[in-house]
Assembly symmetry: C2
Homo-oligomer: 426 residues x 2
């Protein structure tokens, strides 16, 4: 059996995990899949990482030419993260006919077109299962199991850091700052957590998943994004009283070719399959016109789950004579294909002075802007400030109507604060 | 683009669903996957079924030679069900080099070896995604996404009929007979429901999934099987008091090459991801040494979900130059590779005469056979018969120990009935 030469760009946590898996599974993969993986070169500055894995240092360097000029290397797996030098190096590899496997969601999201163009030119494959939801085969499902479906909707918990923080707030009643600090201590969140908490990471993944699901490029610029840093323990507790769980969701929909995509915190019913996805677990719910509802669930990150997806892509790529092309990426962008003013139900929490007539005035303004209310919850004051919290939950309404109503309500005499506005998804 | 000729064996519910999907999705599949599907022949006695779909009757017959002799037909999808004539026809097709796609779990389970041998000889592909869990890509996951893993365990709700019955019993408090009658009325259960309720259907699927997961043939004969017909509303209610849900589970484990496989009702903790899988939905939970826990969820049956999997396999097969071989099926059977006396926790419900000393005698016998008890629940009598129910839940123990203990307890003076024994899975 001919060896399939593999190069690794970077030997960090996931790169090292991948090397370990290739070594551990090599015989089995050879026997079952007829693919004999052999790591031929590694780009890594820090040689101690290679030494720790018992790798012969003669195959470790910092020069991409060592990979580009080695015709035995058929597949290049990238672990640098960020956009440069990953982008430049991978495009060179693709043009040389070397297939690329990556978990770099930011790179695939932002430069899908450039990468695919280079891959098509070099007749190479572009694989990125590991970029979304760790080892869960959501990309393989979209590309190789949903051929018979028009995908109508994606709804997912696609960021483990925020799901860990929100689960901790819900289970232990702690505030956002404390939950974030614990996540940072345990390594679930970075020192600068904004990529996760502000929803950037989830937006990259939603862009990739939606593009594959709808066979249309869904760029980052068309994804509404809102993070979780304004969520309080109070909101989560009120949600519980309504039988709802708060999650950071990535949602996209395709209605007759018109696409809506958004990442934001949302309440979902406790009975929804996504509500029980806790801690650092992720899950993606798909709706296909023929298959109906399906959901995939698993760990969204980690060296071995992500390495599992990387090695799966390497074996899958090695078994292909011709690689899948993502031709949709060549279509010209048309803003008309995307929905900007989407609809939702809303949870609105506000603080008002406890006196007669306030509720009536607030309700009047909601009515004026066509916002219909399904539920109101007002609790007796807990201190003698004379200020109470009121929660409203609306029927489905337009984003614009809710903003206008809230602007007016905020100016009412007796309304002290609009504390939070959170979407409710059914 | 060259057409890919497809033949359909049977035009029942799933066959018709498949035809509709091929027609509806043909253009999209051509554009995205480069595969132009064309139905060239259909075997079906009842011509009205073809007429209802607007199919030209000149391509409908009852003679398999019309398919075998047509070199344009590359892929044959089978919808007959049962083992004959499906087996004979499909083996002829495979030997002629035509790839086979089927949802026939009984056929694949019982004749995997014969089908694979014919496929290997004819250099044809054998595809059966639709045989397990409808449109949920569990087979594609096992064959094309878990290459980097040793699968350690499968745990699944893989029969929709029994899950519908058990969900109805749990949600509405009705008995087994009433829930079954409703399932039959709604078409979720057959007039003769034994294939589902006795666990045969789940065993076929567990055999297929386990064989793929462990790369070792797990024949039906090595799968312990127990149905749900002895389950009562009382058991389900007691389970609720312990925070547990009752499900018919298919479970298999691979411990260093030694395989354990079983289908039986079991209590699972309400927090387990499988506990919230309700009604006719199915789900399979996998544990891989690298990927960790993953779960796939969706509709386990139905014309369009199953048709979705059939068409996915057809497109996948059409894109392959060489097909995957299942070489493990050729290994010689060795009984030593399978576990017979497996361990579990147990729930035991019995009726005893309410008098001093009985509980002590029962506990003594459990102790004698090395069965350790975690929980005992005895409720005050609800009538004046002097007879009460007692529930015991055990620690992990061997099947043999529990049977021996229960035999002895059943003979005790004051023990009126061993009402039920149900496994508890963590």
């Amino acid at each position: 059996m001919q060896k399939t030469g593999v190069a690794l760009l970077g030997l960090g946590v996931v790169g090292s995990g991948t090397y370990k898996i290739i070594t551990e599974q090599r015989e089995k993969i050879k026997n079952i899949y007829g693919v004999d993986l052999s790591v031929e070169h590694i780009l890594e500055k820090d040689k101690t990482k290679a030494q720790a894995l018992g790798i012969d240092l003669s195959i470790v360097s910092t020069d991409i030419q060592n990979i580009l000029n080695n015709d035995d290397i058929k597949i290049v797996a990238e672990f640098f993260g960020g956009t440069e030098p990953a982008k430049t190096f991978l495009i060179k590899c693709l043009l040389k006919g070397k297939s690329v496997v990556t978990s770099n969601k930011e790179l695939v999201c932002k430069y899908f077109g450039e990468l695919e163009a280079a891959a098509a030119k070099g007749k190479a494959g572009l694989y990125f299962e590991a970029s979304c939801v760790g080892g869960v085969p959501i990309i393989r499902t979209l590309t190789d199991a949903m051929q018979a479906n028009d995908i109508k909707e994606i709804k997912g918990i696609i960021n483990g850091t925020t799901n860990y923080i929100l689960s901790k707030m819900a289970d232990e009643g702690v505030g956002y700052a404390e939950a974030l600090a614990t996540a940072q201590k345990l390594g679930y969140a970075e020192a600068d957590p904004t990529a996760d908490t502000e929803g950037y990471d989830a937006s990259y993944k939603l862009s990739i998943l939606s593009s594959l699901a709808y066979n249309k490029h869904v760029p980052l610029t068309e994804i509404y994004r809102e993070g979780i840093n304004k969520i309080t323990a109070e909101d989560i507790n009120f949600g519980k009283e309504f039988g709802m769980t708060l999650k950071l969701l990535g949602i996209s929909k395709n209605s007759d070719g018109k696409i809506e995509a958004r990442v934001h915190p949302a309440f979902i019913d406790n009975n929804h399959p996504l509500a029980s996805v806790k801690g650092s677990f992720n899950a993606v719910h798909l709706l296909g016109n023929n298959v109906g509802d399906i959901m995939l669930y698993g760990r969204g990150a980690g060296d071995l789950p992500t390495g599992s997806a990387i090695v799966s892509d390497i074996v899958f790529a090695a078994g292909k004579k011709t690689h899948r092309r993502f031709d949709f990426i060549k279509q010209k962008f048309n803003a008309k294909d995307f929905v900007s003013d989407f609809t939702s139900e809303y949870y609105i929490r506000m603080k008002v002075t406890d006196k007669a007539g306030t509720l009536s005035k607030i309700s009047g303004i909601f009515g004026k802007f066509g916002v219909s209310i399904t539920t109101v919850l007002q609790k007796p004051p807990t201190d003698n400030s004379g200020i109470v919290s009121i929660i409203f939950i609306t029927h489905v309404t337009k984003e614009k109507s809710i903003s206008s109503a809230i602007d007016s309500i905020g100016k009412l005499d007796g309304v002290n604060e609009i504390s939070n506005v959170i979407r409710v998804e059914r």
